[in-house]
C-alpha cells in the first residue's frame, strides 16, 4: 500500500527468495478491484490494475520510482476479464519500460472481442473495455500439456512458462502454469473457473491471490455472464486443497482486505455451502439489474416503515413492561431490534440511493448495498419475531425473502393452491384482531414473555368498521394464499391507521376471475398506501400467480386468479 506520504510500502513475501509485495487495497466496491505489485531485482509484476484512474496513476508512479533504481521488464497480469479488474491493463507503463501482458487465453479473447457480457462491462456506465495487446495466453487450448511457452523480453532474453497439472483434491487434475522469476521463484497460475470461465488464482511464495473467488456466490454476483455453480464448487475445492498442501499463509482478494489462510478456509467453506444451495439461477444482466434496482428502491421505503412499526411495538411493549416492573423483560424488548444499527444502515442506504449517479456508478452496486442492509434488517426482524411473536415480523421477512431470491436469481418459492377468497377475507379480519393469549399456568418466564407479546400486539382494527361483502356461491381460485393474505392485511392496516372509519372488503366475480377489493369511502386510499407500496403489492401477488388489478383513491383491487 501507499504510505500517507504517497510512497509505496513493500513487504517481503514469505516463502520467496526476496520478492516483495505492495498492495493497493480499496474499500470494497464494484468500481475497481484491489491491485497488487510484486517487485524483485529482475522484474515488476502488476496484478489486476483495476478500473480506477486514480489507482492506475498511483501504480504508474510506483513503477517510475522502482524503474528509476534500474530498468527491468514489467508484467501486467489479470486474474480474470471483469471490467473492474481489467479496465486499465493497457494503461500501465512508464517511459521506456518493457511491458508484457499475460492472462488466461479466454480473458484475452473476451477483451479482444469486446464482450460486454463476459467482461460485465455492460453493467458499468460508459465502460471502456481494455483493448491492449496481450503477449501470452495461459491455459490455451492450442498448447499441448507440459509444453513450455516463452515470451521474448528483448536482448535475447526469454521468459519461460511451464505448464503441467498437479494432483489435487480427490485425485483430480488441477491445471497450472508457472512463470520463472529472476530470483528463481516461480509465480504459479491455477485455472479456477466459476466466478467467470477464465478466472485464475496466482501463488507466489506462501501468498495466494484469489481474485473474486470469495464473493462468487454472493447475491448479485452469482449469475453474472459465464458464472457456473459446478465449476465454482470444483475451484473452491481446488483452492482449499492448494492452501493446505502448500502451506499458504496469506490470501489476497480482489476486493477488501487480505485474509489469513485460516480465515480464507472458512470463507471458502461458506461460499461452497452457498453455491451448493443455488442450483439453476437466472443470469444477471443490465435489464435484470435495472429491475432489481427498482425493486430495491421500493423495498427501502416499505422496509423502513415496517421496521419503524415493529420496533415501535417492541419499544412500546418495553415501556409498559417497565411500568409493570418487569424490568428484565423490558430490557430484552428494548434491545431486541438493534434500533440504532439498523436505522443507521437504512439511513445510509437512503443517502446512497439519493446521491447515486447512474452515469458514473454501476447500478449493481446499489442492488448489492441494498441486499447487505436488508440482510441486517432481516436478522433484526427474526429477533423481534422470536420475542414478540409478531405476525407482522413474519410478513416483513417474507417480503425481504422475495427480494433476496430475486437478487440471487432463484425461482421464488410460492405455494399455489386452491384457496377460498371468502375465507381469505374472514381470516384476514380474524388475524388482525387476534390478540396473543396469556400463558397462564406455565412458567413465570413463559408468562412474562406472553405478557410482552400481548403488550406488543396492536389491534389495527379497533377504531375502524370493517364490512366484508362475500361472494354468494363459490369463490375458489388458484393462488398463493399466504401472499394474498399478506397484501390484504397490510392494505387494511395501513388504511385503518391512516384514519379511515370504515373499510369495505368485497369478494367479486369479474368475468372468469375472482377479485378482492379493499375500498374506502373518503377517497384516502392513495394517501394511505403510497406508490411504492402499491408496486410491492403487485410484485408479491405476481409471485403467487395473482395480480394487482388496480389502485385509485377509493380502493385497491387484487385479482386473485381464475374462478375454479
Amino acid at each position: 500500500m501507499l504510505s500517507e506520504a504517497g510512497s509505496a510500502q513493500w513487504t517481503l513475501l514469505p516463502g520467496s527468495r526476496g520478492a516483495e509485495l505492495c498492495a493497493f487495497i480499496n474499500k470494497p466496491s464494484l468500481i475497481t478491484s484491489n491491485a497488487f505489485l510484486v517487485r524483485t531485482p529482475f522484474e515488476i509484476i502488476v496484478i489486476d490494475p483495476g478500473a480506477s484512474v486514480e489507482q492506475k496513476d498511483k501504480i504508474n508512479r510506483v513503477l517510475v520510482d522502482v524503474l528509476r533504481e534500474h530498468p527491468r521488464p514489467v508484467f501486467v497480469l489479470l486474474t480474470h476479464c471483469h471490467h473492474d479488474h481489467s479496465c486499465h491493463a493497457g494503461d500501465i507503463g512508464a517511459e521506456g519500460a518493457v511491458i508484457k501482458r499475460i492472462a488466461h487465453a479466454a480473458t484475452i479473447d473476451a477483451l479482444r472481442r469486446r464482450d460486454a457480457a463476459l467482461t460485465v462491462a455492460e453493467l458499468y456506465p460508459n465502460a471502456k473495455i481494455c483493448d491492449a495487446r496481450f503477449d501470452l495466453g495461459l491455459f490455451g487450448n492450442d498448447e499441448a500439456p507440459a509444453c513450455a511457452r516463452s515470451i521474448a523480453l528483448g536482448q535475447g532474453v526469454q521468459l519461460r512458462l511451464r505448464r503441467d497439472a498437479a494432483v489435487g483434491p480427490d485425485g483430480a487434475r488441477v491445471e497450472r502454469q508457472g512463470m520463472q522469476l529472476g530470483t528463481g521463484d516461480e509465480l504459479e497460475f491455477y485455472h479456477t473457473p466459476g466466478h467467470s470461465p477464465d478466472h485464475v488464482v496466482m501463488r507466489l511464495g506462501r501468498h495466494l491471490l484469489v481474485g473474486d473467488l470469495p464473493f462468487a456466490a454472493n447475491p448479485g454476483l452469482a449469475g453474472l455472464a459465464g458464472w457456473s455453480a459446478t465449476a465454482l464448487l470444483r475451484s473452491i475445492e481446488s483452492v482449499t486443497w492448494l492452501i493446505d498442501s502448500i502451506g499458504i499463509e496469506t490470501c489476497h482478494t480482489g476486493h477488501g482486505r487480505s485474509l489469513s489462510a485460516e480465515t480464507m478456509r472458512g470463507v471458502l467453506q461458506r461460499v461452497h455451502g452457498e453455491c451448493s444451495a443455488l442450483g439453476d439461477i437466472e443470469r444477471i444482466d443490465s435489464s435484470r439489474v435495472a429491475m432489481l434496482r427498482e425493486h430495491a428502491l421500493d423495498l427501502l421505503d416499505v422496509a423502513t416503515d415496517l421496521f419503524t412499526v415493529i420496533s415501535g411495538r417492541m419499544l412500546s411493549a418495553a415501556h409498559r413492561l417497565e411500568v409493570l416492573e418487569e424490568t428484565a423483560y423490558a430490557e430484552r424488548f428494548s434491545a431486541a431490534m438493534d434500533v440504532d444499527g439498523v436505522e443507521n444502515a437504512l439511513a445510509d442506504l437512503r443517502t446512497f440511493c439519493a446521491t447515486f449517479r447512474a452515469d458514473v456508478m454501476p447500478e449493481l452496486s446499489a442492488v448489492l448495498k441494498s441486499t447487505q442492509v436488508m440482510q441486517r434488517l432481516e436478522r433484526s426482524l427474526i429477533a423481534a419475531g422470536e420475542l414478540a411473536g409478531a405476525a407482522i415480523a413474519a410478513r416483513a421477512n417474507r417480503l425481504l425473502g422475495d427480494f433476496f431470491n430475486a437478487v440471487r436469481g432463484l425461482q421464488i418459492t410460492s405455494t399455489i393452491e386452491i384457496i377460498d377468497a371468502n375465507e381469505l377475507v374472514l381470516n384476514a379480519i380474524t388475524a388482525l384482531r387476534a390478540r396473543p393469549a396469556p400463558a397462564i399456568g406455565e412458567s413465570e418466564e413463559a408468562f412474562a414473555q406472553s405478557l410482552g407479546r400481548r403488550l406488543a400486539f396492536v389491534d389495527a382494527l379497533r377504531k375502524v368498521k370493517v364490512e366484508p361483502a362475500l361472494l354468494d356461491g363459490p369463490a375458489t381460485t388458484l393462488a398463493d394464499g399466504q401472499r394474498a393474505l399478506d397484501v390484504l392485511m397490510d392494505a387494511v392496516e395501513l388504511i385503518a391507521a391512516f384514519g379511515a372509519d370504515r373499510i369495505d372488503l368485497s369478494v367479486l366475480r369479474n368475468g372468469a376471475f375472482v377479485d378482492l377489493r379493499v375500498a374506502v369511502r373518503d377517497g384516502s386510499l392513495r394517501a394511505a398506501i403510497e406508490d411504492r407500496r402499491v408496486r410491492m403489492y403487485g410484485r408479491m401477488l405476481a409471485v403467487g400467480g395473482s395480480a394487482l388489478a388496480g389502485a385509485d383513491d377509493h380502493g385497491v383491487t387484487l385479482r386473485l386468479g381464475r374462478l375454479q
Partner: protein
Amino acid sequence: MTVTEKTVRGVTVLSVDGRIDCTVASALEQELSARVASQHHRVVIDLSQAVYISSAGFRVLLRVLQASSAVRGRLALCGISGKVRQLFELGGFMDLFKMGVSQEEGIAAVDF
C-alpha cells in the same frame, strides 16, 4: 428538522417539523428533555409539521415521556396526522401519550 417554542397559558408548546429519525434523534432528545426537566412541567409537542417518525424518534418520545414522569410533569402530543399517524397507530404509540388533534386540545390535555 427544527424545533420552535412558544408558551400558551403557561404551557410550553414545542413544534417539531421535518423528519424525526436517527440523524436528528440525539439533538432532539437533548432539546426536548431539557425543557421537560426544567421549570416547564407542562409541555405539548406539536407534530403537525413532522413528515416522518422512525424508531429512533419513537425512542426519543418515550425517553421524554419518562423524563416528564420523573418530575411529575405533564406531557401531551398533538397534530399527529397522515403518515406520522399511521406509524403511531401501527407502532402502538397512540395509547402511550395524552393526545390532542389540535394544539388547543393538546394544551387542554395538560392544562389542569
